[in-house]
């Protein structure tokens, strides 16, 4: 086994351990550790990705001395490594971009705790990405949930606490259902390791035994993860949580946390149940319908909103709807589109959140649209970045949003029954996206406006500006040279099977 194969394990361990370390470090050191860890994990994931692209095969890694059905395992393929790399990039940029606001929003003595949370979140995300064991997944889902909750409430204003409570309640419902589903699944198959469960499930399907429990278990797990990733009817906690937490938290929450659950769902679909079997259930139809509803209603709520952060948050609901629509199509192409959209949405949404903070900063801290008038002139970088993000969300070519839209539409065309609905909703949702994002973009450029707010130049916020630039570049890379990425996703999904 090559040394590189240790990297997934190292990534998880480093980030876990750094969490522990940060608990005794002062704030600055904690920050440094945090950055270094994220960067190191990113580099490792990158190397791993290159390695995997070279070998073209996934590998499993024993966590301990015991082989597959007895010991824990993690597994790395192209998709996992790519996701890990991507998550690190986004997390690093989000942290850097929101760093300067952290001081305003969080008690100073608790800054190092914040970095603990981030580290643990990273580790749990990595574990979710790499794990090959359902129960491990459950444990890390909990870490993910709790640290996400911590990220929400670390800025202690009433709204965030309330949002955190709501978030926790929904999450716990979700975990409960997930765990119950998992237990049933375990009862049926006697395994907790994904590959073994898959084999058993295939056998069960063949023999025709335990059909109802099987379906129910899959459904429970799906619903659990859907609730956790804020699919449409379960999104009530989301706007407050994203809208009022610190900016880095919001960026990370929207672009990574929910994506972690979704990625887990993909793994379950492919590695636990089996893609074909999953597609033969009616669950995908449900997902499809809720995805479509989410696309519409998320956007509608966003249109009604007059708080920029909450608007972006609602937009997340819509975007998650896109992803589930892709699942619901039940084809390989739909899945590829969804995975690509995970990337694209993560890149865009964090960009939007971080740009939005730049805009509110020059508007007296208010996030109401009326105060944001002309903010694009006061903070040029943030204005440009917000515009770019919006365009990507609307699906203008050159940006990543366009490609995901393209992939979704192409996938939709191949599905007879769902084609028209998907296409039309895609169109309508684009229109709605255009409405609320462009409304904002025009608003921030509306007048040179109220001079009572100060202008911010590049010098005042170098880091922020550079981060925004990176985000834009990331977006454009995703949008322009999407072919290799799509190929990678396809390969990765093929490795899942």
């Amino acid at each position: 086994m090559d040394f590189v194969c240790n990297f997934p394990f190292f990534s998880i361990l480093i980030s876990l351990f750094s969490g522990t370390i940060c608990s005794v470090l002062p704030e600055k050191a904690a920050k440094a550790v945090n950055r270094i860890v994220i960067a190191a994990v990113g580099v490792m994931s990158g190397i791993l990705l290159l390695y995997l692209l070279g070998t073209g095969e996934s590998f499993v890694y024993w966590m301990g001395h015991f082989p597959a059905p007895w010991g824990n395992e993690i597994r790395a393929g192209i998709l996992e490594a790519g996701m890990a790399l991507f998550f690190c990039i986004i997390m690093y940029l989000s942290m850097a971009g929101g760093a300067h606001k952290l001081f305003d929003e969080v008690e100073e003595s608790k800054h190092n705790l914040y970095y603990i949370l981030i580290n643990l979140l990273l580790s749990s995300l990595l574990a979710l990405v790499y794990t090959n064991d359902m129960f491990t997944a459950y444990v890390f889902v909990e870490i993910n949930t709790i640290s996400a909750c911590g990220l929400i409430m670390i800025r202690q204003v009433g709204r965030t606490i309330e949002a955190a409570v709501r978030y926790m309640i929904m999450s716990l419902l979700g975990s409960g259902l997930f765990l119950f589903g998992l237990c049933i699944m375990y009862d049926l198959t006697g395994h907790l390791l994904m590959s073994n469960i898959k084999e058993s499930v295939a056998l069960l399907i063949q023999s025709g035994e335990y059909q109802i429990p099987l379906i129910v278990s899959v459904a429970l797990m799906c619903i659990g993860l859907c609730i956790k990733s804020a699919l449409f009817p379960f999104h009530a906690w989301l706007p407050d949580a994203y809208g009022y937490s610190t900016v880095s938290s919001a960026a990370i929450l929207s672009s990574l946390v929910s994506k972690g659950y979704i990625f887990l769902l993909i793994k379950i679909i492919y590695r636990v149940i089996g893609f074909e079997i999953f597609n033969n259930t009616r669950i995908i139809d449900v997902l499809f319908v809720f995805g479509l509803l989410g696309m519409i209603f998320g956007s509608l709520s966003a249109i009604k909103e007059n708080d920029i952060r909450r608007m972006i948050a609602y937009s997340s609901v819509a975007q998650i709807g896109y992803i589930y629509m892709g699942f619901g199509m039940g084809t390989q192409a739909g899945m590829v589109a969804s995975v690509f959209h995970i990337l694209s949405h993560a890149a865009t949404k964090s960009l939007l959140f971080i740009a939005a903070i730049g805009l509110t900063e020059v508007s007296g801290g208010s996030r109401k649209f009326i105060d944001l008038t002309g903010a694009g002139y006061r903070n040029k970088w943030a204005g440009v970045a917000f515009t770019a993000g919006s365009l990507s969300m609307v699906g203008v070519p050159l940006f990543s949003g366009f490609i995901s839209k393209l992939l979704f539409a192409q996938a939709a065309v191949q599905v007879e029954g769902k084609m028209l609905a998907a296409l039309i909703v895609l169109g309508i949702s684009t229109v709605l996206n255009a409405i609320y994002f462009m409304k904002t973009v025009i608003r921030i450029y509306a007048t040179t406006g109220d001079t009572s707010y100060p202008c911010i130049t590049f010098k005042d916020m170098k880091v922020h500006a550079i981060v925004l630039l990176f985000f834009i570049v990331l977006n454009i890379i995703l949008g322009v040279s999407s072919q290799p990425i799509v190929n990678m996703i396809e390969q990765g999904l093929a490795m899942f099977a």
Binding site: L13, S200, P213
Partner: protein, 326 residues
């Protein structure tokens, strides 16, 4: 043409229109084109402002539970659907359960080669008499590592939420002032009975907890349960003697470092074991004799570490809940 109708009325009749058209008096332009200039589109900025403010106000009103009938209706609806959903879920689960393999049967999917190996070779491979302890701390140690971090992250969030820090200038948090007098209510200054009982119960409890921890690999018990027992002992002590006594040996710093060292040890030890396992290297940790107290490799130290963490955490939770600090 009879002129009995008054002029105005006549002007409305069809006949009038017809004849005026016939005579060429009806004009396609008159009064239709360019007669009225359109108003320039002007929006009063103040109006706009007020509009948006009103929008906010409406939003507020929408969320005003007490006075919003729609919301109340929605609430009812929500409750009804929730109950229905729960009933449905229950029915679904019951149906599912009725299809599950029978409880207590020896032959069912759960009892497969996995469980068999744990039981048959667990003693040999892990050195733990307690198969469950061997399983969770060796076979499936990664889960347990995660689990301890769940606890850790939960403590961190509780700290974030409840710890009342001094601000930059060193002034105590304003909430501390409210909390402290509040805390007095719970603090029986000189409750002799309690103190007496505690003074001989606490050591027993703590010793019992230590026993549980140390015997984790040999019998029922382990780090978590033992730690919880120790935590309970500490809490009893705190209740009997107050913070001033406990602060002598247990402060935040103590807690921090204990947690740090325990978890670091856990992490590093497990990392070593994982790394060696994955790379098929030989682990230098001896298994020892099954059944002896110093046996079963890492399980004992790990149990101790977990126990420490859990004990401290339990105490920390209590302290936090009670007054936001140690």
């Amino acid at each position: 043409m009879s002129k009995r109708k008054p002029a105005e009325e006549y002007h409305k009749t069809f006949a009038f229109h017809f004849f005026s058209w016939l005579q060429g008096e009806k004009d396609p332009y008159l009064g239709n084109v360019e007669m009225k200039p359109q108003e320039e589109y002007v929006i009063d900025p103040e109006m706009q402002l007020r509009h948006e403010k009103e929008h906010d106000a409406i939003l507020d009103k929408v969320y005003d539970m007490a006075h919003n009938r729609e919301l109340r209706l929605f609430h009812r609806l929500y409750q009804a659907t929730s109950i229905l959903f729960c009933l449905f879920l229950m029915a679904l689960l019951l149906v599912t359960i009725s299809h599950l393999p029978a409880t207590g049967a020896a032959v069912k999917p759960v009892n497969n080669e996995v469980a068999a190996r744990y039981i048959e070779s667990g003693l040999e491979e892990t050195g733990a008499v307690n198969i469950v302890a061997g399983m969770i701390l060796d076979y499936r140690a990664f889960d347990t590592l995660g689990e301890s971090h769940v606890l850790f992250v939960a403590t961190i969030t509780v700290l974030i939420m409840l710890r009342l820090d001094k601000n930059k200038k060193g002034e105590p948090n304003p909430l501390t002032r409210d909390m402290n007098p509040n805390d007095r209510i719970y603090e029986p200054k000189n409750d002799a009975i309690l103190q007496l009982v505690a003074s001989f119960l606490v050591p027993i409890i703590i010793i019992f907890g230590i026993y549980i921890i140390l015997n984790g690999h040999l019998g029922p018990g382990g780090g978590f349960s033992g730690g919880a027992v120790i935590g309970a002992g500490l809490i009893l002590y705190l209740n009997a003697f107050g913070f001033s006594k406990t602060e002598r040996f247990f402060t935040e710093k103590t807690y921090k470092w204990i947690c740090f060292f325990s978890l670091s040890f856990y992490c590093l030890a497990k990392s070593y074991s994982f790394y060696t396992g994955a790379n098929h290297l030989h682990s230098i940790i001896p298994k020892g004799t099954p059944g002896a107290i110093l046996s079963s490799g890492l399980i004992l130290p790990l149990n101790i570490a977990v126990g420490l963490v859990v004990a401290c955490t339990m105490y920390a939770f209590y302290a936090m809940f009670r007054k936001g600090g140690f």
